[in-house]
């Protein structure tokens, strides 16, 4: 453990930090979920006027701790003090009464209602049936104050993710929260939206609010916060000020070991075309065209990344290439063969691997065992089956070796896959998809929501595959990451590719503008 320091900050000079001003104190919080100890004696002090980053990997206990503060869970042991008074927070309602508000990672709003209606739903002082007209001026006033663009009459379903997040933030502010908890608020934001959010948070802190910012991203913790509490395995690993640590030190604190920076792009030496898409048109679920005339090529040993904001046809494109969705017009060639509208099974057997976007609902069968999930595409191969039966013993043996090779953390290959953590589920999918020795790997947001260690692992496996000559088609919303590993980048907007660049010529600003359709 690094030296524990309590840092006094210069950034908010108006507020003097001292015991008297302590806003929230959590002492020795313990929370167990049966065998799993999520919080193991965590103490945390929150001061007004500070942005406090709570940094840790998935499963470090960040969200559990904040859910305790917000009254979702009750601690097994430990005490919470608000403004020096011992409190017992039994529900989010209690938390709100004490001035504690939380913005969830996935906004919890009623889609069919307007912004103003959603906000009024959670206000205790105006009543559930209060006319939104009463609170509209208050919403506008708050929005102006923090520089948010909001239309109080817009329905939630019309809003983008970042706009929904803003509504949640407004809702919490309307409740006069003194403590704002934000759970991984940047996961789905573009980098300009992130900047906007950070400046709003800064403004709130400067007015004396305490902001708790849950994250697993080192750069964000370093750039936005006044103080960083690092959690590891349910304990406080360190508390540091951002200017006193480097990224590497912070990573070591968070992971407990040196971050291996194997993730580095290597110069390409690609050969033949593996995937060729010609003037592809695909319809979406609602029957409207989602992919409108897309053409590109992915070559052997190349990582080709399509960037774009979700919902611009990426999903439909991938499904059409992997045989899960009908192609309306155009052609798909794999290794020179026309595979337009071929069944997913045939494509998989030919060497098309697919890491799907939705890990839990598409990538695995949660109630089947880890071994069965690893064999989800191979159970029918002569290696593991006779004419009618599956040779489970062989699958188990093979699964054990894959579990080791891909460092999947699972007590046994026979437990249901649903018991694995997100990162381990992704390792499982990766292990399965690479075990088929694919020629083409289609990976959709392969590191979405994963912590640093898992992200590095996944990316290094993709780069390894590229070295072996696998063609990789990646769909990504994480532009920075795409620039780090890809050879070529294309931008998808409203069903079309807005340009294909070799990564050396790619300009992050220009690409971001293309992603939102400005360019």
């Amino acid at each position: 453990m690094l030296k524990l320091k309590l840092i006094e900050k210069e950034k908010s000079p108006k507020i003097e930090i001292g015991k008297a001003r302590l806003l929230v104190e959590m002492r020795n919080i313990v929370k167990k979920f049966y065998r799993v100890v999520a919080n193991d004696g965590i103490s945390l002090s929150i001061y007004p006027g500070q942005i406090h980053a709570l940094l840790g990997e998935n499963g470090a206990g960040k969200s559990t701790l904040m859910n305790i503060l917000y009254g979702v869970y009750r601690p097994d042991e430990g005490e919470i003090y608000v403004s020096g008074r011992k409190v017992s927070i039994k529900s989010p309602k209690d938390a709100m009464r004490l001035g504690i508000g939380m913005v969830h990672q996935h906004p919890r709003l009623v889609e069919a209602l307007s912004v103003a209606e959603n906000i009024s739903l959670s206000l205790t002082d105006v009543g559930v049936f209060a006319s939104p007209r009463v609170i509209k001026p208050r919403i506008m006033e708050l929005a102006r104050k923090y520089g948010m663009k909001v239309n109080p009459d817009a329905k939630i379903w019309q809003l983008s993710y970042s706009e929904r997040q803003r509504v949640e933030l407004l809702r919490v502010l309307m409740q006069n929260a003194k403590v704002l908890i934000l759970d991984e608020p940047t996961t789905m934001l573009t980098s300009s939206e992130k900047k906007e959010l950070f400046s709003m948070l800064r403004k709130m802190a400067s007015e004396g609010k305490a902001v708790i910012f849950i994250t697993h991203k080192l750069e964000e913790a370093l750039s936005v916060s006044d103080i960083i509490t690092v959690l590891r395995k349910g304990r406080v690993a360190a508390q540091v000020a951002p200017e006193e640590v480097t990224v590497e030190e912070l990573a070591r604190l968070m992971l407990g070991y040196e971050m291996i920076s194997t993730v580095k792009r290597e110069p390409h030496r690609y050969d033949g075309v593996v995937l060729k898409v010609e003037n592809l048109h695909v319809l979406g679920d609602a029957g409207v065209p989602m992919v409108k005339g897309v053409s590109f090529e992915v070559r052997q040993g190349e990582i080709f990344t399509i960037c774009g904001v979700a919902g611009n046809g990426q999903r439909e494109l991938v499904e059409a290439i992997t045989g899960l969705r009908k192609v309306a017009r155009g052609k798909v060639f794999f290794l020179g063969r026309d595979v337009t509208n071929t069944s997913p099974r045939l494509l998989a057997d030919m060497g098309v691997a697919h890491i799907p976007e939705d890990r839990i609902h598409v990538g695995i069968v949660p109630d089947m065992s880890v071994a069965e999930n690893l064999a989800l595409k191979k159970y029918r191969s002569p290696e593991f089956s006779t004419r009618f039966t599956v040779m489970y013993d062989k699958i188990y043996e093979w699964a054990r070796s894959l579990i080791k090779q891909y460092s999947i953390i699972a007590p046994s290959e026979k437990i249901p896959a649903k018991h694995l953590s997100g990162g381990n589920i992704q390792r499982l999918i990766l292990a399965r998809e690479f075990s088929g020795e694919p020629r083409l790997m289609v990976a959709v947001n392969p590191t979405y929501g994963l912590d640093v260690a898992a992200t590095n692992f996944i990316l290094s496996k993709l780069l390894e595959a590229k070295k072996r000559g696998v063609a990789v088609l990646m769909i990504s919303e994480d532009l920075e990451q795409a620039l780090k590993v890809s050879d070529k980048i294309a931008v998808m907007y409203e069903g079309q590719l807005k340009g294909i660049f070799p990564v050396e010529e790619a300009d992050i600003r220009e690409i971001e503008l293309m992603m939102v359709g400005v360019k």
């Binding site: 979920f33 009750r74 990538g363 069968v365 069965e372 595409k377 159970y379 599956v390």
Partner: protein, 367 residues
């Protein structure tokens, strides 16, 4: 729900939990039924005692229980397969009747003079084919066009009832039936052999037990079983893995219908020896088998025991009808209560109820 009750997700669901929860919901259903008994002025303890003794307490009772268990088990084994694939066949009743019709046709019209060793296998084979064909219609519609199979299978039951009624009132009405809506008795060559001294038609019993063993093997060892589980647990992932939903949906329906059809052959060739009024042939076995499948938690071997348990309940129902003057529909009430309790208990398989204070104490004790 009061705020002091909390549901906590179970870390893992063990076999003990499954058995305990199933037993508890079964017992809970009996407790609920006790209220009805009280209301009728009958001591529920005496009633349950009577039910149990009459069903399991004597050899004679056991014979009757076995007779009921045979069709229940055959239908339930088939239902376990479709339910595993997350396809909802509510039409075992109709598929059973089609099997009975096929047996009647073989026995009375196709092979009236053939020897037993020909007629009996042909009846079973054609009965299975007829049941499968009846199930193939909803299976195809569901697999190809995603037509709701619950509605189609349920409605096709009524069509099956009417087909049997048409036959026994019309073209197949027996010459020697004195005008009653029944067919002639099957020739002796088409009557299933019995265990001596009982009325248990053992070929069907053997088929039922074999089917449950075969189903266990199919689900746990075969490629098709793997596909059924994948489709049933997560149809999206199965599609992504290249498993055909149509194949799984259609084939599971065929097998399920075939097993119900065999049950129908057993009922008419083993027990009634003629086609009779449809409800008297099927006796609701196709519906009750749903309860057997759930009581067994979709485990084909457990279904053997559960079909005997439920079969016993039917026999006990007849007994208390006589001894206590209760209506036989009490048994249907039982069935309903058991199914409701089973479905309601599903949540307890995955979640555990804890009272916050109790939880703390319990955890301290453990640590």
């Amino acid at each position: 729900m009061p705020s002091w009750i909390k549901l906590v997700r179970r870390a893992d669901v063990t076999r003990t939990t499954v058995i305990a929860v199933t037993a508890a919901s079964f017992i809970f259903a009996f407790l609920l039924a006790s209220i009805i008994f009280f209301w009728q002025g009958i001591n529920p303890v005496a009633a349950y005692h009577d039910i149990f003794i009459s069903a399991f307490g004597s050899l004679r009772g056991l014979y009757f229980t076995t007779l009921k268990a045979i069709p229940l088990l055959l239908c339930a084994v088939g239902l376990i397969l479709v339910f595993k694939a997350n396809v909802w066949n509510i039409g075992a009743e109709g598929q059973l009747l089609l099997g009975a019709v096929a047996a009647g046709w073989v026995a009375l019209y196709a092979l009236p003079n053939a020897p037993s060793f020909v007629v009996i296998p042909v009846m079973f084979i054609l009965g299975a084919v007829a049941g499968a064909a009846w199930a193939a219609i909803p299976g195809f519609l569901k697999g190809k066009f995603n037509v709701n199979e619950i509605i189609v299978t349920l409605m096709m039951n009524y069509i099956a009832y009417k087909i049997v009624e048409y036959l026994i009132y019309g073209p197949w009405r027996g010459a020697g039936s004195w005008g009653y809506p029944i067919t002639d008795e099957f020739p002796e060559t088409a009557q299933l052999p019995l265990i001596p001294g009982t009325s248990i038609h053992y070929p069907t019993l053997v088929l039922a037990i074999l089917s449950s063993l075969a189903m266990y093997f199919l689900l746990s060892r075969t490629k098709f079983g793997f596909e059924v589980k994948a489709v049933g647990y997560n149809v999206e992932a199965a599609r992504y893995a290249g498993i055909s939903f149509f194949k799984v949906c259609f084939v599971t329906m065929l097998i399920s219908g075939a097993l119900a059809g065999i049950a129908g052959v057993g009922e008419v060739a083993g027990l009634h020896h003629r086609l009779i009024y449809p409800w008297s042939i099927s006796s609701g076995y196709g519906f009750s088998a749903i309860i057997v499948a759930w009581l067994a938690r979709l485990h084909p071997i457990a279904a053997i025991f559960m079909s005997f348990l439920l079969g016993g309940l039917f026999v006990g129902g007849y007994a208390i009808q006589v001894s206590m003057g209760l209506s036989y529909s009490v048994i249907h009430l039982f069935n309903g209560l058991i199914l409701i309790c089973l479905i309601a208990s599903e949540i307890l398989l995955n979640y555990q109820i804890v009272l916050p204070r109790g939880e703390l104490k319990w955890q301290r004790l453990k640590s």
